[in-house]
């Protein structure tokens, strides 16, 4: 959208700028989508315990740098395409429709794998805490169903956490986190502080592949600034600045917190202590440390913010899945009813409910089969999503190169070629190590089939996507022609061509 603004004198520009988002708002959206407390209190100790990932602090830094390289090309391309909040739009514009559809399905699996496990995590932690505090006997799935219901209702009513509430919660979360970290660092086990887990040498260790998958799971949400592109005051700058600032904040917070935790327990004890803290009646590690150093009341406050963090993250990822499903329904890659808006709330109701139904089925499955909500749903599921995110980032980096190869659109060589190539190398290396060490991540035997099944699920989904694209091309060429180009493209006006009724057919040609 080319707007030449005679600064300040355009009534239209001024009026539109009024309800557009500024950089601080978008930064808040990005960081809260990443859900700091959920990651630090929920994911990190579980990662330490299950995968023994002692190099987690370094892994967070490594992933931050990798994602920063990725974001150079990502935010640049976001300026030139519509539907910039969806990885498949990049894949389609850069690498063609078949890859685009495959990426769409990969992304759907990724975001569902990031979303649904949050129900499990919430159920586990909250039921454990309530049982401990008030001497109750709640099942994990009781609490999981409660949050499922809450998120489902809010999704349909389109009640998003408005930016003020979000900002307050986020500031509280980060403040508490910094205090927790300070207390941890200030009370090192054995009196000395070790920086080993932050050292680059960790890259060679066996646990590194596992650690990066855990790390990127924590970063999920970093890509969300691009969603708001067209709603921002200055499209060129806002998405870029928010993304990089958000990434830095998240990376430093996570690396710092994961390291601080290991300082407080002693780096040789972090795995053991984390494992202890995963028992249903034990306090989460971070809160146990908080209780020791800062008192029980502070630990309780931290837990409440931890719960709201999980709720906020659930809402955020639920909306992401709904948004993807809605956009795909609009383009008729997925069944068209998913693309319906027409409700008073403006919610993509069908898409939202579909996601809720899927979540419900997963919860029922886990409850009935007696599977572990923390390790198997929250941790395995979440890291499956994290792995998928790596795949999406890899595909998108290649797509960036493809997109700018035909027309550089004024972007520099660094932006459109060098940074993406570096990102591809980095992400490719990380994916390779992750697949190599997936059994370490899952803490299963090296020959356990699960270590192949989980990452391979993305190959399966991609294959289905390619088949779907081929099917669409054959059966519905008008739909196929407009995939991923976004409804903005006037040259590809996505209107159904339709069929005239029998009476009208004689002598009237097909329109569009």
């Amino acid at each position: 959208m080319a707007e030449q603004k005679p600064a300040g004198r355009s009534f239209v520009s001024a009026a539109l700028a009024e309800d557009r988002l500024g950089i601080p708002s978008v930064i808040f959206f990005v960081v809260s989508a990443a859900a700091p407390l959920t990651v630090v209190i929920g994911l990190v100790p579980t990662g330490y315990a299950v995968a023994g990932a002692k190099s987690l602090p370094f892994a967070f830094l490594a992933v931050a740098v990798t994602l920063a390289l990725f974001c150079v090309g990502y935010v640049a391309m976001a300026r030139h395409i519509s539907n910039a909040g969806a990885f498949y739009a990049y894949a389609t514009r850069g690498l063609g429709r078949p890859v685009g559809v495959a990426t769409a399905l990969i992304a759907l699996l990724t975001y569902n794998a990031l979303m649904i496990p949050l129900y499990g995590g919430f159920g586990f932690f909250v039921s454990g805490w309530l049982n401990g505090k008030f001497n109750l006997n709640l099942n994990w799935w009781t609490c999981s169903l409660a949050i499922w219901l809450l998120v489902g209702i809010l999704g349909v009513l389109r009640v998003d956490l408005n930016s003020k509430i979000l900002a307050v919660l986020l500031i509280a979360e980060v403040t508490v986190l910094l205090i927790l970290d300070g207390a941890d660092i200030g009370n090192p086990a054995g009196g000395s502080v070790s920086f080993d887990s932050l050292a680059p040498a960790n890259i060679a260790g066996v646990g590194f592949g596992a650690a990066v998958v855990i790390a990127i799971t924590g970063f999920a949400g970093f890509e969300s600034a691009a969603v708001y592109g067209e709603e921002t005051r200055n499209r060129r700058r806002t998405v870029a600045v928010s993304t990089f600032v958000g990434l830095s904040i998240i990376g430093l917070l996570y690396a710092g917190s994961a390291w601080a935790m290991s300082v407080a327990t002693g780096s040789d004890q972090i795995v053991a202590k984390s494992a202890e803290s995963l028992a249903p009646d034990a306090a989460p590690l971070v809160l146990a440390l908080a209780g020791e150093h800062l008192g029980a009341t502070f630990a309780d406050i931290a837990f409440v913010l931890f719960s709201t963090s999980m709720i906020a993250a659930s809402i955020s990822f639920h909306n992401t899945v709904a948004r993807y499903t809605f956009a795909l329904g609009r383009e008729r890659v997925l069944p068209a009813p998913l693309g319906r808006t027409g409700t008073r709330t403006g919610a993509p109701v069908v898409a939202s409910v579909s996601q809720s139904v899927l979540g419900f089925l997963v919860l029922v499955l886990f409850a009935v089969m007696g599977w572990d909500p923390l390790v198997q749903l929250f941790y395995y599921g979440g890291t499956l999503g994290g792995f998928g995110l790596l795949v999406c980032v890899l595909i998108t980096s290649v797509a960036v190169i493809g997109f700018f190869a035909r027309d550089s659109r004024g972007e520099s060589v660094w932006t459109r070629l060098i940074a993406p190539i570096l990102a591809i190398v980095a992400v490719g290396f990380v994916i390779f190590r992750a697949v190599e060490n997936f059994y370490v991540l899952l803490n299963v035997a090296e020959d356990d089939p699960l270590r192949w099944i989980l990452p391979a699920s993305y190959l399966v989904v991609a294959a289905i996507g390619l088949l779907l694209a081929a099917g669409l091309k054959a059966a519905k060429p008008d739909v196929y022609a407009t995939i991923g180009l976004g409804a903005d493209s006037v040259a590809n006006v996505i209107l159904p061509t339709g069929v005239p009724p029998q009476a009208e057919r004689a002598g009237v040609g097909r329109g569009a």
Binding site: A2, V12, D160, Y228, E231, G342, G346, L495, G498, P501
Partner: protein
């Protein structure tokens, strides 16, 4: 009735006067209707995503006159999307006021616990239901629509009100609607397409 007024009625619950669309999407639909009115009257054209001023003579309707003046005053903005967004902010109020003055709507205040809600109720419920009834009749019977009704049908599609108008859900009615839209004159077709995509983008960007 003017296109925007008819769209307002279609997008409204006849008994309570409540809008059936989210405020932003209603705004987009009404903004498109206002632009459409100017197109039908020959003042505006469209191509390549931009609107074009064809005839600067003041339109008869006061609101249309205001809109045209605004467009003429800002020649640097021609993208349809920008005008949909800008006009959409105030369109529900402006069109509502126009309909009040024309006696199509009447103001009704209801006092709640915390605040007073103002609603605009149709003065004549069967007249308010007529645009929708008319569209439904033509679409289900496959009868020819004039360009005014074609535009109205397009806006119904663009704002996802289709299932309200075609509540009996016969597939051939939906297909005929699609055919009608794709056979609109190109400027109107572009307007409808842009509105549809703007409505979708608003949902995707969480601004609903």
């Amino acid at each position: 009735m003017l296109v925007a007024d008819e769209f307002y009625h279609v997008a409204q619950d006849e008994s309570s006067g409540k809008p059936l669309l989210h405020a932003r999407i209603l705004g987009l639909g009404l903004a498109a209707a206002l632009l459409g009115e100017l197109m039908l009257a020959g003042h505006l054209g469209a191509g390549d995503g931009n609107i074009v001023v064809i005839n600067q003579r003041p339109p008869e309707d006061a609101l249309a006159h205001t809109v045209l003046d605004q467009i003429i005053a800002e020649p640097q903005h021609r993208d349809i999307g920008i005008w949909l967004a800008f006009l959409g902010k105030t369109a529900p109020d402006e069109v509502g006021q126009r309909m009040l003055r024309a006696g199509l709507l009447t103001r009704s205040e209801s006092r709640g616990l915390l605040r007073t809600t103002v609603r605009y109720l149709p003065t004549d419920r069967s007249a308010a239901a007529w645009p929708e009834t008319r569209l439904r009749r033509f679409l289900t019977r496959g009868e020819q629509l004039n360009v005014h009704d074609g535009l109205l049908a397009g806006l119904v599609f663009a704002t996802d009100l289709t299932r309200k108008v075609l509540w009996d859900g016969q597939p051939q009615s939906f297909q005929y609607l699609a055919w009608v839209i794709s056979n609109l004159p190109p400027p109107l077709r572009e307007l409808v397409a842009k509105t549809h995509s703007a409505a979708g983008n608003v949902v995707v960007a969480h601004r609903t």
